[in-house]
Subunit: 228 residues, 2 copies
DNA sequence: GTCTATAAGAAGATAGAC
DNA sequence: GTCTATCTTCTTATAGAC
């Protein structure tokens, strides 16, 4: 006991736990919650199903850990209130680029969002709450943009409509992208966001040219190379 | 044999088959392909798993039958080439209203679209092919709209971008709607479509007021009542 | 055409050795 | 902290009675 080099008794345990969450995240993203068995996750991290349950008790607890990790990663990538007004929205281009490098994250979110149409799905409440949170967060930032004079004024109803439309477009593009990874997700979104910002009357809309093609159809334009 | 009243020997068989497909469609939409066991589907239609497999042989064959039925229902609702140019896009408002009355259809499509991010998923090829088909179909109709002088000209790349953005918005709104059915899907989409058509320079964009609120928050505005 | 019975395997979860 | 072994239940699928 006195000879171990780690400073805390739980140090390796914490690391192992993180490895399990990462593996579970990947497998659940690919196969869905129901399709991701503890054996499959265990194989990915080199452990038996019993070993996993020593750490998390139940499969549902593991899902919750995966969701928490997803939130943590997203926040680390895009800290809340790091940008206000229009800057809040332009930062989503970086988020899309981040997603292209970590496909599992968005696969997981979309799979759970769709699966959770079942009211008895363990992630149902989490998904619903998250949708509500990002819409109200978006409306708040759009209001900031108006207050700061970055964009033209609009009604509250119009703001909710615009925010819902923008977030819907992001999710829908991600859905197209996981069906065909040749789609340049970040570039496509960047072009569409520019159109939206221009329509809102943003004066500092980023100057971005229309990408060569949304799909890299020609073999000499390997858009898929951007992925990890 | 000579006494039965049905005209063909397979009449009841065909009806039963249709009932199974309908039940399987509902259960798969709610639980995903992996989560929808033959036992669960059998209970929904009053049959044992063995009975189901008498009709379809394997679970995967049943999924194929469900996908074919999905296509058939969608086509019946919105016949191909029934509207060209801008009319093609405005008809999507009707499609959204239809989806609100038949939630299972869109739940199934979204669940499978997300699940099928796994390359080994049996519906992977079907989902990918469908995404490609509707994008090229949309671009074709947008081109028609330009040719007919309904909207301002735009480049081929821009057309693909606009179509991808519009379809992404539709899928994303549907994702928001299954997470919170209080959202008035058709009205929200109608308002957003009007904005897009106006931007395209459509002269006959439908005159629709912004809905009272995208979410019927007040108890006296039961937006959910529109559902079946 | 649907059933019961059953196979062969995988699922989540528990007990206890080391 | 991870293992093996085991339990119970559930999975898809087959065989054969009615």
């Amino acid at each position: 006991m006195a000879t171990h080099t780690s400073r805390g008794p739980y140090k390796t345990g914490v690391r192992r736990r993180a490895e399990i969450v990462a593996a579970a995240s990947t497998v659940m993203a690919r196969r869905g919650y129901a399709g991701a068995s503890l054996r499959l996750i265990g194989e990915a991290v080199g452990m038996t199903p019993a070993g996993l349950l020593r750490h998390f008790g139940t499969k549902e607890n593991l899902l919750i850990a995966v969701l928490d990790d997803w939130v943590e990663q997203t926040i680390r990538m895009r800290p809340p209130s790091s940008a206000t007004g229009i800057g809040y929205f332009t930062r989503f281009v970086d988020l899309m680029r981040y997603h292209m490098l970590h496909p599992g994250l968005i696969e997981l979110f979309l799979t759970l969002s769709a699966e959770a149409s079942d009211p008895s799905h363990p992630a149902r409440a989490w998904v619903t709450a998250r949708h509500q949170r990002i819409v109200s967060e978006g409306v708040e930032q759009l209001r900031n943009a108006v207050t700061n004079g970055e964009i033209a004024p609009m009604s509250d109803r119009r703001m909710e409509l615009e925010v819902r439309g923008l977030f819907a477009m992001m999710d829908g593009l991600e859905l197209q992208w996981i069906a065909d990874p040749r789609l340049d997700l970040a570039a496509t979104f960047e072009s569409l966001l520019e159109i939206v910002l221009r329509r809102w009357g943003a004066t500092d809309a980023p100057q971005i040219g229309t990408p060569e093609s949304a799909i890299g159809g020609e073999p000499d334009v390997p858009a898929a190379a951007v992925r990890a």
